[in-house]
């Protein structure tokens, strides 16, 4: 355990900048996905309370999860979100697309790009923590049965965009937690060292 903690701290210290950077990207995605959601609601005249339920399936959050597990959970959720978003965009273009691209379409493209960037960043963090190679998202339960109607497709799109927004917020929170934990570990390490040197 001590070895693991030491390794974890070491890795945390190494990836502090990367975590901070990932946090900033997540923050950007949070704003952009919020705007996308708003644009879509306006475009389709959906009420603000028009969506419920989750599409992304990940283990529930827990305080018992360590850094690696938290990153795993986040990364997995983001992977599922990305998959959902790509399918949503494709489906929307097929069924409802065409015509001149406007602000909504541009925002959709921006969110898609930002999410991919965040995924890349969190993937790197995960590699730094665990040394794992690539992660394959679990798309179980994400298969779209094929919305029976276009209205259901539109509701599903709204859900997907809500998921992007939800997990961008979750990413901000998780990454901030990692930064805070890293700072705490660093300060406790400094205290231990100073105590030892005082004893000597």
């Amino acid at each position: 355990m001590a070895d693991r903690r030491t390794r974890s701290m070491k890795n945390s210290n190494l990836s502090r900048t990367a975590v901070n950077r990932a946090s900033m990207i997540a923050l950007q995605l949070q704003g952009e996905s919020s705007k996308l959601l708003e644009l879509y609601r306006q475009k389709e005249s959906f009420p603000a309370d028009a969506t419920d339920g989750r599409l992304v399936l990940v283990p529930p959050p827990s305080s018992q999860l360590d850094t690696r597990d938290k990153l795993w959970r986040l990364h997995s959720a983001l992977l599922q979100t990305q998959s959902l978003l790509e399918r949503a965009i494709t489906k929307e273009e097929e069924e409802l697309g065409g015509g001149i691209k406007g602000e909504y379409e541009n925002q959709r493209k921006t969110v898609k790009g930002r999410l991919s960037f965040l995924l890349l960043t969190t993937g790197n963090l995960l590699k730094a923590v665990d040394g794992a190679a690539s992660l394959t998202p679990s798309l179980e339960g994400l298969e779209l049965d094929g919305p029976a109607t276009l209205f259901q497709l539109k509701l599903w799109l709204l859900q997907v965009f809500s998921e992007v927004h939800h997990w961008s917020k979750a990413a901000v929170t998780t990454l901030q937690e990692l930064l805070t934990n890293a700072a705490d570990e660093r300060s406790s390490t400094t205290r231990v060292r100073s105590t030892r040197s005082a004893r000597r």
Partner: protein, 972 residues
């Protein structure tokens, strides 16, 4: 039916009448039984949900008319009830009828019953048959119908929402609008959209919400059927066909599967990028079919291949370049073009100037472009069309660039400016890109005289466009010799042809400087044509204020021209320019005419120098001229203002630039500010202000007073002089001779006792008679004897004599007694102004005057009261004398009344006899005679207060009285 047969058998056993009745009845019954329609059987319901159509079929026997009722099953409400005609399908033997519902058929269950009808006869209703809706309990979900419907603009659409069991319906929304809802069944609610508008790419949503915020909805697309236009087919490779068309109307159905599908001659077309369809062979006839969810539309076209050639763009352009021309070459993609009769356009661009060259030929692949300029970069592109059967220009080729070769430059445009001191400038214009023909390496300027061999040459670097010359330093050129300057431009190809200009001072000034015309951002100059002049012209312009080494600009004009226009960008606004027209500028320039003017006038940039000074009570405002460079326009005049607090009040508008003085009159003492603003056609300048304070003008006041005094003095002198000169007339007019009284009858015979001795103690009373004598005191003769006063009246005895009264005019003649009595005459003499009364003592009224004015006696009827004293003067009545003046008496009522009085004044003959030589004595008696008199008194007469007040009112009336007396006395 069996029952009816049964009845018929029973009636056969009855009697004959009954039999007849029964037969009639049976006949009737039989007839009736034959017309009863059969009840429809095996009713079958089927639906086409997409078009909300319910198909009802049944076995209806021979009947063709049926009554049909359709009910909403759950609420048992009728949605259709009518008599219909349905034909029997010969193959199946079933009748069939279609009914279109307003609501989607899924909304709720519908029940159908049918009965046959034959006229008024109807069958029984068929057994109820039901088409189940989606609101059955077994289908317990939130649903919305219809889904994803595409409708035409202007349609009406009904949607229904089926709520879950146990849930409560809240609302239906179209966009953000809450719709009116009709309840169709226990769980089904419907709303209708009327005259729907076109929707966007993703359609419009109709949302059904429940109270628990769960929702479902439907998407609706509203648009138009396709409407293509301008369908044409053409060829580029001379084999295949390429067809194009346009959409005349936006269908609004562009998303997903709703977009319009196109096919040409049944071949599907990919129209993702543009509305084009390619066919491998030239069919000659084509049909375009456009189709979407709302309908289809077709267009046709037919043509021969040669008539529809739109050539491809030439490729692989190349060139062979010279200084003044170039050959452009290209290639064709298809060999079939080599035999094609082509018409080609070559567009060359040089410094953003485009030129279009047109060439023709069979299989054209190269053209020669002429009219190019040396050392210039050109960009060309080519396109072609069929020459004989021109259809359309082909596409432009890719652009191709080349640069022409260099050549010697054109001769420069040279002109000069000469000062009066034989110095000056030789100037030339920078060579444009079309004149330099290559990079300029320098200039060579040579001064020379045709008669001399010696030349003065200067080599100048490029970018030099003037050189200063001083002819006085060139001894060989002489003072009066004709000097020319020659300028040559050099580039890498060599020297240009020379340009020359004669150097001489042209100081001729035309009589009239006219103004140029400036319109539409151009300046126009006009002049008369001179038939003798065969040279070119040159128009030169420069800033008028420039005098030495002026940077002249010029433009050359062809011989025979009578006008020129110059771009306004050559001029600055607010600058006055001199424009000079010269003939033969290269040999012997002659000034033809000169203009002066502005391209744009501005308000003066500087105000006038102003001075204000006071002159007497006037203020003189003077100002100077604005320097020429600051006028910025022709000064049209000046406005003179006076500062009125914070505002300027216009005093004068002087509409002449020559008037630079203004006089302000009638100003009172005070401080004044004056502002003078010059103005041009552009407006006023800011103005110059000067103030002045006007002081009180004391010298003028003194002068005025002195003048007035002098005038009075002169007038007095003149009057005196006139009076002196006309003294005889004056004497006659104002002091006529008093005629001697003529005594009628015998003087010695007296009719009554006559006291010839004048009373030594006579007294003249000044009797105040306001009404009659205008309150004027009357002189009363006061006796001189002291004892008399001591006896009767208290007298101021300080003075020896209280009153001396005498006539100033010495007249030896006997005094003619005048009418009226002496007291009245005395009053008249006092009023005349020619009476001098001198008081040498003061006598109080109470002591000196024996006459006291009686308030009662002021009435007109009462004459002045005369108090007589013992031993004093006694007037004598003399009727004869009175009758002599009867005429006068009638004109004076006062006198008339006085005459009636028993105490009237009567002149005494004896009085005259005693008095002639004794001036003092006689004069004391004379006042009663009415002539101008002088009264001298040694005592002051102080009338009482009342009398004094009344005296103030006397002068005018007294003067009038005196004047009337004067008139009377002058009468014969």
């Amino acid at each position: 039916m069996p029952k009816l047969i049964f009845q018929h058998t029973l009636k056969l056993n009855c009697s004959f009448p009954w039999l007849i009745c029964v037969l009639v009845n049976l006949l009737a019954l039989n007839t009736h039984a034959q017309t009863i329609p059969t009840v429809p059987k095996q009713v079958s319901l089927s639906a086409d949900l997409s078009v909300k159509e319910l198909t009802i079929s049944w076995f209806g026997g021979a009947a063709s008319t049926f009554d049909l009722i359709i009910l909403r099953t759950e609420f048992n409400t009728s949605v259709f009830y009518d008599t219909i005609s349905a034909t029997m399908n010969q193959a199946s033997g079933r009748h069939e009828w279609k009914w279109t519902s307003a609501e989607p058929l899924e909304c709720t269950s519908l029940s159908v019953r049918i009965r046959s009808r034959d006229g008024l006869a109807t069958s029984e209703w068929s057994k109820m048959d039901t088409f189940p809706g989606r609101d059955l309990p077994s289908n317990n979900t939130l649903q919305m119908y219809p889904h994803d419907r595409v409708v035409e603009v202007g349609s009406n659409m009904t949607f229904c929402c089926i709520v879950k069991e146990g849930k409560t319906f809240k609302e239906m929304l179209y966009g953000n609008t809450v719709m009116n809802v009709t309840r169709l069944s226990r769980r089904s609610y419907a709303t209708t959209l009327v005259n729907v508008e076109p929707t966007g790419v993703s359609g419009s949503n109709i949302v059904c919400r429940l109270e628990d915020l769960s929702l479902d909805g439907a998407v609706m697309f509203v648009g138009y059927p396709p409407l293509p236009s301008d369908f044409v087919c053409e060829t580029q490779d001379l084999k295949s066909a390429e067809c194009h068309w346009k959409e005349a109307r936006d269908s609004h159905l562009t998303g997903g599967r709703r977009r319009t599908r196109y096919s040409v001659n049944s071949r599907n077309c990919n129209v993702d990028l543009q509305l084009t369809c390619r066919l491998p062979l030239w069919d000659g006839n084509w049909t375009l079919m456009a189709e979407n969810s709302l309908g289809h539309y077709s267009l046709s076209d037919s043509a021969e291949l040669i008539h529809r050639v739109r050539p491809v763009a030439p490729v692989n352009l190349s060139s062979v370049v010279n200084a003044w021309n170039a050959t452009v070459m290209w290639q064709w993609t298809y060999e079939s073009y080599f035999t094609l009769d082509l018409n080609c356009q070559v567009e060359s661009t040089n410094h953003e100037s485009k030129t279009l060259h047109v060439f023709s030929g069979v299989g054209l692949r190269s053209v020669k472009l002429s009219g190019l300029h040396p050392d210039q970069a050109y960009t060309v592109r080519v396109r072609c069309g069929h020459q004989k059967y021109f259809w359309k220009w082909g596409n432009w080729s890719q652009t191709f660039s080349f640069k022409t070769q260099t050549d010697v430059t054109d001769p420069p445009d040279v002109w000069m400016w000469m000062n009066k001191d034989r110095t000056g400038l030789v100037v030339w214009k920078p060579l444009g890109y079309q004149q330099s023909h290559g990079r300029v390496t320098g200039f060579e300027v040579t001064l020379w005289n045709p008669e001399d061999v010696e030349q003065h040459t200067q080599i100048l670097p490029p970018n030099t466009y003037s050189v200063r010359v001083n002819l006085t330093e060139m001894a060989s050129l002489g003072v009066n010799k004709k000097v020319f300057a020659t300028v040559v431009v050099k580039n890498i190809k060599g020297a240009s042809p020379p340009s020359r200009v004669p150097l001489r001072f042209i100081d001729e000034q035309p009589l009239v400087l006219s103004k140029p015309v400036f319109t539409n951002n151009r300046l126009f100059l006009f002049w008369q044509q001179n038939a003798t002049n065969t040279c070119n012209y040159l128009v030169e312009w420069l800033d008028t204020s420039c005098e030495h080494d002026c940077p002249v600009k010029w433009i050359r004009v062809a011989a025979g021209s009578t006008n020129v226009s110059i771009e306004s960008e050559n001029f600055k606004p607010g600058v006055r320019y001199n424009f000079s027209l010269y003939s033969c500028p290269s040999d012997s320039p002659q000034l033809i005419t000169r203009w002066q003017g502005y391209t744009q006038e501005l308000v003066p940039s500087r105000s006038v120098p102003l001075s204000v000074k006071s002159q007497d009570s006037k203020v003189v405002i003077t100002w100077g001229e604005i320097p020429l460079s600051d006028r910025r326009g022709f000064v049209l005049g000046y406005n003179v203002y006076i500062s009125n607090g914070s505002e300027l009040a216009l005093l004068a508008n002087l509409s002449s630039s020559e008037m630079r003085r203004y006089v302000v009159k009638g100003l009172s003492v005070g401080n004044y500010k004056f502002t003078v603003k010059s103005y041009t056609s552009a407006g006023e300048d800011t103005g110059s202000t000067a103030s002045i304070t006007l002081e009180p003008f004391t010298d003028a006041l003194i002068l005025e007073m002195l003048g007035a005094l002098g005038t009075i003095t002169i007038l007095l002198i003149i009057v005196t002089f006139i009076c002196y000169k006309k003294r005889n007339w004056v004497k006659k007019a104002f002091y006529p001779d008093i005629p001697e009284p003529k005594l009628p009858g015998d003087w010695s015979r007296l009719q009554g006792p006559l006291d010839v001795r004048p009373s030594p103690h006579s007294m003249v009373h000044i009797v105040e008679k306001p009404e009659r004598d205008f309150n004027k005191e009357t002189l009363v003769v006061i006796p001189e004897e002291e004892e008399y006063f001591e006896k009767d009246e208290p007298v101021d005895t300080d003075e020896p004599m209280s009153l001396r009264y005498y006539n100033q005019v010495v007249d030896d003649r006997p005094i003619r007694p005048r009418f009226p009595d002496s007291s009245a005459s005395s009053a008249s003499s006092l009023d005349s102004g020619h009476t001098d009364v001198t008081y040498t003592g003061i006598q109080t009224s109470g002591s000196s005057l024996v006459f006291q004015p009686d308030p009662q006696g002021s009435s007109e009827e009462q004459p002045p009261e005369v108090v007589l004293y013992d031993g004093g003067y006694k007037p004598q009545m003399h009727p004869k004398v009175l009758s002599d003046d009867v005429v006068l008496k009638s004109s004076n009522p006062f006198q008339e009344s006085e005459a009636a009085s028993s105490v009237g004044y009567k002149p005494q003959c004896s009085w005259h006899l005693d008095s002639p030589t004794d001036t003092a004595e006689t004069s004391s008696l004379a006042p009663s005679l009415g002539s101008p008199t002088s009264v001298t008194s040694t005592q002051f007469l102080l009338p009482d207060g009342d009398g004094d007040e009344k005296n103030k009112q006397q002068p005018s009336s007294a003067a009038a009285t005196w004047f009337s007396n004067l008139l009377l006395s002058s009468k014969p």
